[in-house]
Amino acid sequence: MTLNFDYQTVFRVLNEHSVRYLLIGGLNYFLRHKPVTTQDIDVLVDTTGDNLTRCEGALSALHAEWGRVDAEWTLTSQKPAGWLSGQAVFCLLTPQAPLDVFLSVPGIPSFAKADANSVNIATNDGIQVRCLSTEDLLACQLALPENMRRLDRVRHLLELRTNG
């Protein structure tokens, strides 16, 4: 796959397909809080209604690749409808960025509730991105075993919560 890194395109296409998603993980922290290196884009998607079907459409439009095993690694557009199910996370490759699609994550028991608390930001090109709230970002960190938490982030997020 030839890569042409452009994380903004990923959000533009998700938005165009009306996918209900929330940006989580390092890129959320990067865009909203502090610069950190991160190796991919992490999104949590709503699994209700036809959202996963819309998400599959968006991933096809992005020319995403994925396979349940190496031998099945191919464009997702070549997979049968409904492939985006049956496991909690899918680590895909798109020409724009490595993309992790989560159907669930520890610390976020309800997409609807997290969505209600989420915040909207705009990228440099004005593309709207739905982001997990600071409170829920903190909940994700606290759901990790202590030795896996990013203490700098936890401290910073706790400060934000304390100071409003």
């Binding site: 796959m1 890569l3 890194f5 994380y7 993980g25 390092g26 890129l27 922290y29 990067f30 610069p35 950190v36 290196t37 991160t38 190796q39 991919d40 992490d42 690749e65 994925w66 396979g67 095993v69 190496d70 690694w73 496991q87 909690a88 996370v89 899918f90 680590c91 895909l92 490759l93 960025a97 490595p98 992790d100 994550v105 520890p106 440099n124 759901a143 990790l144 075993p145 896996m148 990013r150 982030r153």
Partner: protein, 76 residues
């Protein structure tokens, strides 16, 4: 295996599988590109002094370099 351990194991297996289709060079390019987009973003330019930006960029470059030596990297 607990729920979290099962989840974490799946994340690791998925990442490892994807990385077999993504070269180290491509991973490096992604990290570099993200860094460049960050340091040139309007919000970041507004928040930081030029000195702070240069210092931050140096730190981030070092973090990326360390990752590609097989050391720490923010997997977040």
């Amino acid at each position: 295996m607990g729920d979290f351990e099962a989840f974490q194991k799946q994340v690791e297996l998925e990442e490892a599988k994807r990385n077999r289709f993504l070269s180290d060079l491509q991973r490096r390019q992604w990290a570099d590109e993200l860094l460049q987009q960050m340091v040139h973003s309007e919000e970041y330019q507004r928040k930081c002094t030029p000195e702070a930006r240069r210092a931050e960029e140096a730190i981030l470059n070092r973090v990326v370099d360390e990752y590609f030596k097989g050391d720490s990297f923010d997997r977040g």
